[in-house]
Each structure stands twice: as structure tokens, then as C-alpha cells.
Symmetry: C2
Subunit: 290 residues, 2 copies
């Protein structure tokens, strides 16, 4: 790797528009910290029991490692997994402060089914370090924060308080799955989790398939890993034979599998198409009706 590259950590300057704006808060804004959106890996629960964890540089850019190493204040989905990531960062990039000295706050748990957290979150409290000039990192257990994960309310609050929000590039299981599916990437919908009740789930799948056909829109959904096989069975039972189905699991990890075929083909089996999915490997399900 070349040593001639420029240093990558940028100052959290106020956005250009704020610099130009003729408002009185300019100097205060310039002293505020910003909210960095720190990507996480997609290997939660998939690390080898022994030996070193996979190199973070497989999925995270150097800038994310440098920013993470420089932060001392965090708001996270899960403190334990956040510390685990920072330990891996520390093997590549010295931390500005030892892990024990970092301020790591956990977001309140969302209710089952993906409800947004923290409508009632006291933003001035959670974002106090940034208001006082310290950068804050937002991190979820896997992938990009606030995408299929909690944290959006905090980001919205940051905008409301005039803080700069700075997303860092990293792996998104939804977009990696979409790109690798070969299904329509020009029009797509992510619907989160489906109902777990069998009848309600089948009904929802049928409604999504109709919407997919009408709009030519790829439908993306996720499931709790231990229900992955049940979800695959439900999709194969409910979708039309000509609908194309993709299952992408363990993305970016050693157990990555990505399969796309028509439902009729999945039903016949063989050709490397799985009939069961691992109950501990996160999967994204995608389909596109004809």
C-alpha cells in the first residue's frame, strides 16, 4: 500500500450551506461535533470459535477504521458487539482512547417487528456530547446504522439540532443482496419482517407479489435466522411458479450463498439450490414477479 496517500480523516466542518447561511448560530455550529454513521461487518454470530476474526478490511474502508479509532463517544444498538468491533479495529488502527474509557450508550430496544425506537428519545441528552463539540459514532450490530436497524430517530434529531450527519461507506446486506440477485435494481422495496402467523404471512406474500408484478419492483425482506427455512418454504409454497426468487445468506462471510432461480426451479430442487437454510446465518429474501 502506498504511503503517499493523503490523510483521510476530515474535520467535521459544518456543511457548506451552513457556512454560507446568514444566521447567527454559525460559530456555535462550527464548534459542534458531528454524528458519524459507522458501518459494522455482516459477520455477527458467524465468527470462527477459534483463531483470529476475519480482517475488517475485507468489508470496511480505511476511512471507517480511522474514524472509528478516533471516536470516544458512541450510541449503539448493542454495547457488547460494539466493543467487539472496536477491539478488531484496534488490531489495525490504534484507538484514541482505551476501550474501557470510551463512552458507549445503548439505544433503547425496539419493540418486536421493527417499530422505530425512541419517538420519545430525549435528543438533547443523547446528542449532548456533539452539542458540546465531541464527535459521536452511531453503530448497529451489523451493516449500516438506521437501515433495517434502530437509530433513525437519533439521526433525525441530529438534523433537527443542526448537527452534521456523516455516513461512512460500508457493507449493506440489502444492497449486496440486491446487486447479487440479478433482480431489478432500478425499482425495489424493502418491507422488513413479515408476520409470523402462517395465514397472515401467506396473505402478505401474495400482496407483495401483486405489487411486484404491477410495478416491476423487486421485493426485499428479512427474517430472524432461526425462521429462515420456514420463510423459504412459505415463499416456495405461496409465490407463482414464474416469479424469480433469490436467497442471499451469510453475505461477505465464509458461508456466503446466493441463489437466484424461478420458483418452479426452486421447487424441483437440485442445481445447488438449498432446501433448508442455516438457522444461524442472516439471510435476505428477494423476489420479482413477472
Amino acid at each position: 500500500m502506498s504511503d503517499s496517500a493523503q490523510p483521510m480523516r476530515k474535520e467535521c466542518a459544518p456543511p457548506v450551506s451552513a457556512q454560507r447561511a446568514d444566521r447567527s448560530g454559525d460559530e456555535a455550529a462550527a464548534r459542534q461535533g458531528c454524528l458519524w454513521l459507522m458501518p459494522n461487518t455482516l459477520d455477527l454470530g458467524l465468527l470462527p470459535a477459534e483463531g483470529p476474526a476475519p480482517d475488517l478490511r475485507q468489508v470496511l474502508p480505511q476511512q471507517a477504521l480511522e474514524v472509528a479509532a478516533g471516536l470516544t463517544h458512541w450510541v449503539v444498538e448493542n454495547a457488547r458487539s460494539a466493543r467487539a468491533l472496536l477491539k478488531r479495529v484496534a488490531t489495525l488502527q490504534p484507538l484514541a482512547q482505551p476501550l474501557q474509557a470510551q463512552v458507549i450508550r445503548e439505544l433503547p430496544r425496539p419493540r418486536k417487528g421493527g417499530e422505530r425506537t425512541a419517538a420519545a428519545l430525549d435528543a438533547r441528552d443523547w446528542l449532548a456530547p456533539a452539542l458540546a463539540g465531541q464527535d459521536i459514532g452511531l453503530m448497529s450490530e451489523a451493516g449500516l446504522p438506521a437501515v433495517a436497524d434502530p437509530g433513525a430517530a437519533l439521526v433525525e434529531a441530529a438534523h433537527g439540532l443542526g448537527l452534521r450527519v456523516r455516513p461512512l461507506s460500508g457493507p449493506s446486506s440489502l444492497m449486496l443482496a440486491l446487486a447479487a440477485s440479478g433482480l431489478n435494481g432500478q425499482s425495489f422495496t424493502f418491507v422488513g419482517y413479515l408476520p409470523t402467523d402462517t395465514q397472515a404471512r401467506a396473505q402478505r406474500i401474495r400482496a407483495l407479489e401483486v405489487a411486484s408484478r404491477q410495478a416491476g419492483q423487486t421485493q426485499l425482506l428479512i427474517e430472524t435466522p432461526y425462521r429462515n427455512s420456514a420463510m423459504l418454504a412459505a415463499l416456495l409454497q405461496t409465490l407463482q411458479p414464474a416469479t424469480r426468487l433469490c436467497v442471499a445468506s451469510g453475505l461477505t462471510t465464509a458461508v456466503e450463498q446466493i441463489h437466484t432461480a424461478e420458483v418452479a426451479r426452486w421447487r424441483r430442487g437440485g442445481a445447488g439450490l438449498p432446501t433448508q437454510l442455516a438457522s444461524d446465518v442472516p439471510a435476505v429474501f428477494l423476489f420479482l414477479a413477472r
Copy 2:
């Protein structure tokens, strides 16, 4: 940076399921190359006129640089921008073959409005190097290939031919915008481009706003940069005052700007909210109705 990290380039082995499958094509599959989905930066058209381009490691993980440097066969949206990226890769990672010796094929141009390319693409021809054992890289002009970009037909064809598809982590302007918007990341739709006719566009915006309200779903759309200001004006004119609107432009670049506020707030102006957008900076527009 530690030297103790494991080498990151993985062999393009057939997926685990294919290894297990009792079908006759196993040995042939093991000799096939795979289709790597190579992410690009988001700074197309935004590079400084003089001086070095920004360090690729700001947005691309080391694995993507290593894989890109090792490939010799490419299918790309635009050959010129693909060569430009490979030149930047070469400053960090020696290329397996000089640029002039690389085989770089351009995808047929999509028709205006985001129609999928290459329904009639001769997959066996385009994927011939992989069928003969050479890895191929698929790359678009910005971000992840086949997401809001051409290439999906090629990816689908690769699945149909039993080739392994391997997505590499990289920046997705849609997901960075979604994460940084603070809008709902648990349910969202990307609709691509809207009609350019004023009436048709307003009608479509209203329909999307109704859908957003009914499903609590963030709507994402893009526009050709020179029409960005017209799109912002149309959104501000058409959306309800309580709808939250985010404009995220120049993501990951020096001119990055991300603003989220209610439409009523945007209409009042000030608070750093832009009234015009640069006509040469890619933007993502997002909104969530109440």
C-alpha cells in the same frame, strides 16, 4: 496497519451447496470463474481538476482494491470511467495486468428512464471468460453495480449458468442517503426516476406520498443532476407541509450535503437549507409522509 492480517483474496470456489450437490457438473463448476460485483466511488464528475484524486480507501475496502487489481476481464457501464478507477487502484495496489492489456467490455446503453438492459444479451458470449475459468468484474460508473444501474441482466444470466456471483462491499448512495436521512430505514422504496413532464411528475409525487403515508415507507428517488433544483422545487410545491424531506448530495465527497426537515420548514428557508442544488452533483431525494 498490522502485517499480521490474513491475506484477503479468496479463491472463487463454488458455493458450499454446489460442492455438496450430487450433480454431474461439479468439476466443471469448480473450474469456472466467478462474477465479482466491483463497487465504484461516488465521485464521478466531482474530482478536483488538478492534483491527485481522493484516496480510494475512503470508501472502498482493501478487499475490493485487491480483487480489482487481480482481475483482467471486465464488463462495465462505461469503459472510460472503469479505466479511470483502475488507474486509481493501481496507485495503491499493483495490477495483475497493465491497463492496456485488460479486456474491458461496455454494456449496451439502457434506454432512457431506467429500462433494464440486455434482455436480449447473449449471456454465454458476455460471460464466456468465466465459463472458461477467468474471473470477471462487473462495474458501473458509481456505487454498486446493478443497483440503480445496468448490469442486473448479466448477474441473472450468471446465476442461470451456475456461475458464482460475489458482491464486494462498497458505497451505495441510496443506503448512505437513507441512513443519513433519519427517515424510516425499516421500510423503504426506491422508485428510480420520476417523469420529467411537470403534471405527470406532480401526479407521481402525490401518489408516492399517499403510499408513503399508508405504509410508513420512506420513498427514495434520483434525478439527472442538472434537473436537481427543478426536482427540489417540484417536491416542495407538491408534498404536504408535514412530510419530512431529505436531500443528500455529493455523498462521501468534499461537497457532501445532507439536509432533513419538514416540507413546511424547507419552504420557509434559512437554517442552512438549500433552495438551489448544484447542477453537477448527484443527489438522492427521500421523503416520508406522516
